[in-house]
């Protein structure tokens, strides 16, 4: 059979099939919502590190902390900042929390500042998380992802958790998608503090 013998007929058949296939998901409520809140990276470790010359500037985000105070990232200019995006509902965030707390305890004295961004969370659950893990640093409340959106065009926190290492001049030096471990983050902190 030649390729062209019944082209229009085949095309019509294809169109009809596609149209039928397209009917499937139309009805409201017919299917369960496509939501599982699983936009975080599981155990995968995925980091991006920039050389000192090629670091994108971090946007100046500001907002209200879980404790109710106004805070902006630019207030931390001059220090190396660890910016951690988390949520109390997110399993990898809970897994990395003890390591982050320990790092914060050890490196605050050396001028490294820690700041959390609490994503898609309710304040009560977030407070309970902070108390459970005795998180020593403040977190900005970001229930609607506006702060995450501000990083568009740089290296956005594309997963929960994500951790950004920001150098003393307010530029993003590294991004880690997924849980951090004490050692992996310590290496980055040391690098950025030196350079």
């Amino acid at each position: 059979m030649s390729c062209s013998a019944r082209l229009p007929a085949v095309t019509a058949a294809a169109a009809a099939m596609l149209a039928l296939a397209g009917c499937g998901g139309g009805a409201i409520g017919a299917d369960t919502p496509a939501s599982s809140g699983q936009s975080f990276v599981g155990s995968a470790y995925n980091s991006t590190v920039f050389r000192a010359g090629g670091r994108p500037a971090a946007p100046d985000i500001s907002g209200t902390t879980l404790a109710g105070q106004h805070l902006s990232l630019s207030a931390y200019r001059g220090s190396v900042v660890i910016l951690n995006f988390w949520g109390s509902w997110c399993s990898p965030c809970r897994a990395e929390a003890p390591d982050l707390t320990a790092l914060a305890a050890n490196y605050s004295a050396r001028g490294v500042r820690f700041l959390g961004v609490d994503i898609r969370d309710d304040p009560v659950s977030a407070d309970a998380f902070v108390k459970s893990f005795r998180v020593p640093y403040p977190s900005l409340n970001d229930p609607s992802d506006e702060l995450a959106l501000a990083f568009r065009g740089t290296v956005p926190p594309a997963a929960i958790p994500s951790t950004l290492v920001i150098d003393r001049r307010g530029r993003i030096a590294a991004r880690i998608l997924g849980s951090v471990s004490y050692d992996s983050l310590r290496v980055l902190i040391t690098q950025v503090t030196r350079g």
């Binding site: 082209l7 099939m17 409520g29 919502p33 599982s36 997963a159």
Partner: protein, 630 residues
């Protein structure tokens, strides 16, 4: 005449396509021809349809990961096998991509060469006039006092005035009209290629996402905010349109009585959105099939449900949870919904609740069921668990299911709660209060840059197809020669190259009459050719072939033969010499479209029907559409 004629046409099936040589090049050519054959395209299309079936039967990772993990729990032995076959992510499976890409290649490999051929056909000159016009399906002749040259020039200008494409030669004019048919065909093919390309563009540069949004919440179009995010191959998170959408209020109305009771009537989601950070907020009333379009991105309303609100106090008296928890409908008529509440920061033990939400709770036969989808009597019933939720391990977990491996049920009788009621947990584990409910909507966010091009090419393809079906190509030939009595004998012949929408007879009759009156001619009764018979039919078929000869790739050869034939003596009888190449062509056409109504296409097509009727013209219609590059 008849005997020589018939023998010259019957050596009917000289197969032009040689068997593939067995060299690597030959095999490659053979493979390519197989891939681009319509049979393969059909098989691939069918395979594609079959391959999508598991996508709608089995839960899909990309659409509903929670359902996939439920399936794993329900079918512990079958699920890993299905998973290995990618049946939980059919549309991302390698074998699905293979089918799609092969189909794409097959169609492109078929359409592209055909497009070039059609360009050639659309630019083609009319063929030379056959020698005996009286043997054409339609013919007329008249005598005029004008000399032959003037008669031909007059005929040419008359036909040209009717927008025929003209070609002139020694003693003849041939004219053809209806090239729009080829243009339509060409448009169809180019549009088809554009359609394929548009689909490809959409897959590479587009993205799809889903988000469940509870009333009172808002989200920004950024990966962390999306429950499911499926970017195209070349989409990075920074490419997402930076809009924010908040749900202020959602309302649904339902039929309250009658045969369609419980059916939804309307859904309205009052949205407040900003197109980009810092821009003014606007309102939008989102409804089913009325998406919000921001920056080329469409936001569709695809689902809704209830999110009961709870407050949990732990054993130490601390409030450790307060919020709305989306529950998923498990049936449509009463919107009975299920969900879980996880309280990982409760002390002394982590708490988990598996709940059922009944929008219109009513006892029926000792069971509590929901009898209506609207929240007329919203109650919730909970089963309480204590222990380890498994959340601190770092392993991904659905927010719609509890990992019970580290949990045990607490001994508390499940009793339906109305809004405001609490349940005290045993062993000093704390208290849970059902404080109210909100509604949620689920949104599908799609960006498909290929959508508009695909629509345009689809419409163009349809228009081209209609054009090529409606317009028929028809040819008129005029010959003028000095007659016996000093006057000029003018012969006019007509041939429609397709059987689409008849009516050429009338047009031809009018043309012939116009020509005659313009040249003060006297009509001559048509000779024997009107009489159907095998020999005449053969000639007519040959005439048609001759008319088509110029179409073929062998056009030049055919014309050379025709020229030769003209230089031969009149007595040879086979006045339409270039029959051979076309006969071969006709036969390949016949074998190409064996399933169609090709009554006249057996090795002796000529004897099948009356002059000029179905077989000849429809054969040619076939060969017009079918002619292959070989």
């Amino acid at each position: 005449m008849t005997s020589t004629k018939v023998t010259s046409t019957t050596p009917a099936a000289p197969p032009r396509q040689a068997a593939p040589r067995l060299g690597p090049g030959g095999w490659l050519r053979w493979a390519w021809r197989q891939l681009t054959s319509m049979r393969t395209a059909l098989v691939l299309l069918f395979l594609l349809a079959i391959a999508s079936v598991p996508g709608s039967v089995l839960p899909q990772e990309g659409i509903d990961p929670a359902a996939v993990s439920q399936y794993h729990t329900a079918h512990p032995s079958l699920a890993p096998i299905l998973n290995r076959l990618s049946l939980f992510s059919v549309f991302a499976a390698p074998w699905f991509a293979a089918i799609y890409l092969l189909l794409f290649l097959s169609l492109a490999g078929c359409v592209l060469p055909r497009t070039f051929r059609l360009v050639g056909q659309a630019r083609q000159q009319p063929p030379r006039a056959p020698r005996r016009l009286t043997r054409l399906p339609m013919s007329a002749s008249y005598q005029t006092a004008l000399p032959p040259e003037q008669a031909l020039a007059g005929a040419g200008s008359l036909l040209g005035g009717k927008r025929f494409r003209l070609r002139t030669g020694e003693g003849w004019v041939s004219a053809e009209k209806g090239y729009l048919r080829e243009v339509g065909n060409l448009i169809f093919h180019i549009a088809l290629l554009a359609l394929l390309a548009s689909v490809g563009i959409g897959g590479v540069f587009g993205y799809k996402a889903n988000r469940l949004l509870v009333a009172g919440q808002s989200f920004a179009d950024t990966p962390t905010a999306l429950d499911v995010f499926r970017p195209g191959r070349l989409v990075s998170p920074s490419d997402l349109a930076p809009f924010s959408v908040g749900l202020q209020h959602f309302s649904a109305s339902y039929v309250r009585s009658g045969p369609t009771v419980d059916e939804p009537i309307t859904f309205n989601a009052a949205l407040r959105y900003t197109a980009a950070p810092g821009q003014p907020a606007r309102s939008y009333d989102l409804q089913v099939n009325h998406p919000l379009v921001v920056d080329g991105v469409s936001v569709y309303l695809i689902g809704h449900g209830y999110a009961p609100e709870f407050t949990v106090t732990d054993g130490k008296g601390n409030v450790v949870f307060r919020g709305a928890v989306p529950f998923i409908p498990v049936e449509q008529s009463g919107l009975t919904s299920e969900g879980v509440i996880k309280v990982p920061d409760a002390t002394p033990t982590q708490l988990g609740f598996a709940g059922v939400f009944l929008p219109s709770a009513q006892a029926q036969g000792g069971r509590l069921v929901s009898v209506f989808p609207a929240a007329l009597r919203p109650e919730v019933s909970l089963i309480t668990y204590g222990g380890n939720l498994g959340l601190n391990s770092g392993a991904s977990q659905s927010v719609y299911s509890l990992d019970l491996s580290g949990m045990h049920q607490l001994p508390v009788a499940p009793r339906p709660l109305a809004i405001g009621q609490s349940m005290t947990l045993p062993n000093g584990a704390g208290k849970i209060t059902y404080t109210g409910y909100r509604q949620w909507i689920s949104l599908a966010i799609t960006y498909d840059p290929g959508q508009l091009p695909a629509l345009i090419s689809g419409v163009l393809a349809l228009a081209g197809l209609i054009l090529s079906f409606m317009v028929r190509r028809r040819r008129v030939f005029v010959r003028a020669a000095p007659g016996p009595d000093g006057s000029t004998l003018v012969e006019v012949g007509g041939l429609a190259r397709s059987d689409a929408a008849g009516g050429f007879e009338t047009e031809f009759a009018e043309l012939a009459r116009d020509l005659r009156t313009a040249q003060d001619g006297t009509a001559i009764a048509p000779p024997v050719s009107a009489e159907p018979g095998a020999a005449d039919a053969a000639d007519a078929a040959d005439a048609a072939d001759a008319a088509d000869a110029a179409d073929a790739e062998a056009a030049e050869a055919a014309e050379a033969e025709a020229a030769e034939a003209e230089s031969e003596s009149e007595s040879d009888g086979a006045d339409l010499a270039p029959a051979e190449p076309d006969r071969a062509e006709l036969d390949t056409a016949a074998s190409d479209s064996a399933e169609s109504d090709t009554a006249g296409l057996d090795p002796e097509p000529v004897s099948a029907g009356p002059v000029g009727a179905g077989p000849v013209s429809s054969d040619h219609d076939q060969s017009l559409g079918v002619r292959d590059g070989e």
